[in-house]
Symmetry: C2
Subunit: 721 residues, 2 copies
């Protein structure tokens, strides 16, 4: 039996995991970390990754024989565990075109190898069918500290190297994920065949992606795997070269609770019946005083236990020396004491069976005290106390009148749940929310994320009926994979918006010196967020506007967006904004076009945008909006208002709301956003429209469309359209 | 003398324009519109565009002889005025490797050509040195309706075809323009040599670009010119294929006035001593009444002549039947009459020697009445009356208390001059300006731009001392080349911001149905704007914020930007925003680092951002800002403020202004922008800071940095840093 035949027989007969396990075990036993080419082929065969026909020979005569049986041309390569850089060693001959050439190449490779490394162990020479034609692509995997195993896809050559045109998905990837990768690169068109070339076999490429991603998921020891290049032809795809590098070092795992445990814990933390304030103080200016005041002034109805080493009473409430002295149960303890006292008190909290500790103090990892943070982390894990922070402002949960924070009290109830890794961003959330009357259900500071992180919040907000949208600012994800898994589920129910700071190299550097956040390759975040249905905000204001606007909009039932505008100029900018935000301007069917024409002046433009022109009375806006809402083929409206004497801003606003409510009474609801162009009175119209569930922005054509775009992104990700 | 020798001799001896003129004349005389390959080579030789050695032969024997003299391999191609698609005709053989092959190829090409087109006139077979190796690039030219001749550069193959990675400059391009093109493509790195390859000869490529762009500028008849591919090696670059297509149809030229004429005209229009209101009316709701009221209520001090067919007096002013009845001179006439009466009255204005007509009426080109527009255009040209509009709201010039418009009166004087093609956008400008107290010098409606356009405004605002920044919204540029020429000059003195609507295909379509604006390839706009030093706004709000913020900032003296922040989280987002906006975060020298460390707590982070941490008193902000302003190595500051009890927003704001004014007294001025994170009180701080010349934005890390980025873009374009 030839070597080739053995390989094939093994791959077909064995269970694929057993085959690969035995290879990896052998590599490990040999003290190696890279697979040889024949080993790589065995692995590929086991996982259904097509590779060229090949075999290893140990004589020039066998070389000629095997090559002839495969068909020419072939590539010949040295096989030696001691020679990794084969080309450098003169161990590769390409384009071997006949039996004589194969014999000559065999001899040449062997003599080159001996010259390169005299004592190299030589297993033979590999003969491989040479692939020609088709589109060159690269399929590989990487192991990311936060996201774990990822599969990568890109086109071969300069497109990956120079233009970094590459896309990632979490492994294992589904077939749908894999197909989306083929469309996810900038040069996607090349796979469809250019310059008269054949299209690449999408199905075959997707299968390789799926199989590779399954392979690295089954074997976490595979640190890197590269198929480079893979030749994709009209029918089939074959990996011309396989490189597999193993990494046997164990990776530390962040402690994970089950989703049920998290729901239980988080409900006790976010809706506590009783709160201990560690370091409560009657002295103004102290953090422990601000926390007490915010709890009391905020109107929290549960029990508040001030904890203080000496005081008997603080702000009219009985004080205790320790949480252990408190007679009843305590759900959470808010820490307002210096970092170095935290560990000791946390142990007492554990003994008291407190569920959550809100660690306001700074002076941990962010201040080079990683050791101190690890200590509290271990105490938390030991007693099962969930830790929020350290290094945070605390948190708000408005539906329980709960302001467990040293910041200003906040009472604008609503349905947006926001969180931030940074305190400053938390304050910006509070200010924006109050200023724009954006109701929030919760604002949570996550700080150093010693324990509680974005995923825990997602799990809580998912089942929290007071929350309709979740918006999170983060600088890193401690467990990106865990986040993606939860986000993928939660985003099916509620929009999840993330502002990932440290997008750029400069930002990542600033983040690492600020909270020690290690921001990774931004393209990975970009792709994983998309895979998980997360809406990515590009800026702080965008995150805030999405949190404010997106939950106002009903879910669209389809992709057809129509612009109705009084200002032609706004129509142009709104159209640009639609493209920028991935919205589809519907193509107007002739009958609908005619129907709109009935309401607009002859010099107005129908089509899309419907330009009703500037001088029209309120009834023209009403008629066209009513038609836009009534016709089933239209799924969302963007209105462009132009301030005129004949239709002043508030008249317009009231008219819009009137039609919208008239249609709602008939069971028709569609997302509507408004851009207003006019003198300052338009700002009052903004507020009125927003208060009536219609996101409206003056002096901007891009913000309203961005909000609608975010709603669409969510609805698509959730599979609702 | 061989054909080849003749060609060479001609090219060397003749004046280059004479050489090319004679070729073009011959092509025209022949009734052709494309140059043959030998003609193309002659043109290239004349303009110093390197092409492969070549010659035309008329026998198989000569083919072998000439090819041997050049060195193999060679390419052989049919030369026939009747066969344009040579490959299709089987008229091309590549890789001819020796004399025998050359003979065989000659015979094959001839028989193929005869088979393809029996009666084709055959001039011979061209033999060309075959280029191999090096980087393939494309250099070409296009003729744009608005911008005229442009030179284009991109990498060969898929990069141009699939990724549209191409860059344009107005022809003729300077050497600096040409070099900037090499860096202006996404795949620029490839020219530097990748995968161990040689870098391309930048100098040689730039010379070809310059020469090609000069050639098409010298000969407007050259409609298209393509050098595809050009092979660029380490030393030299050679165009392997030349395609030149001529277009002898005459292009209509938009009437151009000299810059001196425009300055004179525009000064009379923008600062008129007397205004006639055509269609003045006492009846509320009429446009002619709104115009009268705005002129009077706005406080205009010049003479106002109401023109009305019957009235003797309107709003207390003597009315006239015609402008010709008015005793004194009239500078401008504001038209508030229906479109169909405009032409007749415009003739009277011409006879009265009125300089400018403000054509408010719609009903011209935008309403399918191109004929009516052409009529008034011709009257304007005949009498030398400059036309503003038609289809506009009019214009404001605040420093003359002039509101020549039917919109609301506007009186917030300042230094930003804005214009818009669309009326709705004009209203948004007015609202935003009033709301944010952005002082403006002028707001101008340009509408259909039958005559006056963005360039005329640039020429006026350039010499208008009341204007410090010019911001223009446009949907097209009727004369893009004229605009670019003026903008290039003006932008050296004052920032020019342009919001080009119709960026996307959908937007361009909306523009064409709205005002008939023909938006071209957006990449051309992008590149020409950059070449002309124009700052491109990406959105309406951005244009408005640039107009408001950029003139507040002093010009930076260098590229070193420093972030000082109380909120580490803002520092990260501000860093991201710096990269997004092309700003360079300075690398902190050790001595400066140490100097900052003296002012901040030990757990604060120096480096850049300087993270002073959140709990600091006002003096820490002051100390670090003072140091930032004092040290010569720092050229601009970005401040991140975090609302705390110890440093409340207004305390922060006053402290910043105090230090800035202290340093200004010492002659030190640097651009400073501020991002504020905090509760709603920060909004008051925004206003205070802005009023004191420091652009400040709450709840946003990106807007202040975008404003600073725009200032930098301008300063770089103007050659000031």
């Amino acid at each position: 039996m030839t070597q080739l035949a053995k390989v094939e027989s093994n791959a077909v007969s064995g269970d694929r995991k057993t085959v690969v396990r035995s290879i990896i075990d052998k590599v490990k036993a040999d003290g190696r970390d890279a697979l040889t080419a024949p080993e790589g082929k065995l692995v590929c065969d086991a996982y259904g990754i097509p590779v060229p026909k090949e075999g290893v020979v140990t004589s020039a005569a066998d070389a000629a024989k095997l090559a002839s049986s495969m068909g020419f041309p072939v590539v010949m390569k040295i096989v030696s565990p001691d020679i990794l850089h084969k080309t450098e060693a003169g161990g590769v001959v390409v384009g071997v075109s006949d039996a004589d050439a194969a014999r000559a190449a065999y001899d040449k490779i062997l003599s080159n190898a001996k010259a390169y490394k005299a004592n190299a162990k030589i297993d033979g020479v590999q003969i491989q069918q040479m692939l020609t034609g088709g589109q060159e692509v690269i399929i590989g995997t990487v192991t990311d500290t936060s996201f774990g195993k990822l599969v990568a896809f890109g086109l071969g050559g300069v497109l990956v190297e120079v233009l970094k045109d590459i896309t990632f998905r979490l492994a294992p990837a589904t077939k749908a994920d894999a197909l989306s990768m083929l469309d996810g690169i900038k040069a996607a068109e090349m796979l469809k065949g250019v310059r008269g070339g054949d299209p690449a076999d999408r199905d075959a490429l997707a299968d390789i992606i799926v199989n590779v991603s399954q392979l690295v998921s089954d074997f976490p020891e595979i640190g890197e795997l590269d198929l480079n290049p893979v030749f994709a032809t009209k029918k089939g795809a074959t990996a011309a070269d396989v490189r597999i590098v193993l990494d046997f070092t164990a990776k530390p795992q962040r402690r994970r609770y089950t989703q049920e445990e998290i729901v239980q814990q988080m409900n006790r933390i976010m809706k506590p019946k009783s709160i201990a304030v560690i370091g409560a103080s009657a002295e103004k200016g102290k953090i422990g005083n601000s926390v007490m005041r915010n709890l009391i002034d905020g109107g929290y109805k549960g029990k508040i236990y001030p904890i203080h080493p000496k005081a008997d009473e603080i702000m009219g409430l009985k004080a205790y020396k320790s949480v252990k002295d408190v007679p009843g149960d305590i759900d959470i303890a808010v820490f307002a004491i210096p970092a170095n006292f935290v560990a000791k008190v946390l142990v007492e909290c554990g003994e008291k069976k407190i569920t959550g500790a809100v660690l306001i103090p700074s002076g941990f990892a962010e201040a080079d005290n990683a050791e101190g943070q690890r200590e509290v982390q271990e105490i938390g894990a030991k007693y099962g106390i969930r830790l929020m922070g350290p290094n945070i402002y605390g948190f708000y949960y408005t539906w329980e009148n709960l302001c467990a924070t040293f910041c200003t009290a906040f009472d604008v109830r609503g349905h947006a749940a926001l969180s931030s890794q940074s305190g400053g961003i938390g304050m910006a959330i509070i200010g924006f929310s109050r200023s724009t009357k954006m109701g929030v259900s919760a604002i949570v500071g996550l700080g150093n994320k010693a324990d509680l992180d974005e995923s825990d919040l997602l799990t809580f907000f998912e089942q929290d009926d007071n929350t309709h949208i979740i918006a999170q600012h983060c600088e890193d994800l401690k467990d990106g994979r865990g986040f993606a898994e939860v986000a993928k589920r939660v985003s099916k129910k509620k929009p999840v918006v993330v502002l990932k700071a440290g997008r750029t190299a400069a930002g990542a550097k600033a983040a690492s010196s600020h909270t020690g956040a290690l921001a990774g390759n931004d393209r990975i975040y970009e792709d994983v967020f998309a895979q998980a249905g997360v809406i990515r905000a590009r800026s702080l204001r965008e995150m805030l506007d999405f949190a404010r606007g997106v939950p106002k909009l009903p879910t669209p039932k389809g992709e057809n967006v129509l612009i109705i505008t009084g200002a032609g100029g706004s129509g142009v900018l709104l159209s640009d904004a639609c493209i920028d935000n991935g919205l589809k301007l519907m193509t107007m069917p002739p009958d609908l076009d005619a129907a709109f024409r009935k309401f607009i002046p002859p010099f107005g433009a129908s089509g899309n945008p419907v330009d009703i022109t500037g001088g029209e009375p309120p009834v023209t806006y009403q008629n066209t909006i009513r038609l836009g809402l009534s016709d089933d083929r239209i799924h969302a409206l963007i209105l462009g208002y132009w301030h005129t004497i004949i239709t002043p801003p508030m008249v317009f606003a009231r008219n819009v709301v009137e039609v919208v409510e008239e249609m709602k009474a008939k069971g028709i609801e569609k997302p509507i956003v408004v851009s207003l162009a006019g003198d300052v009175e338009v700002e009052e119209a903004d507020e009125y429209l927003y208060a009536h569930g219609i996101p409206a922005y003056s002096y901007s054509t891009e913000l309203p469309v961005a909000v609608l775009g975010a709603k669409y992104k969510w609805a698509r990700g959730a599979g609702l359209i």
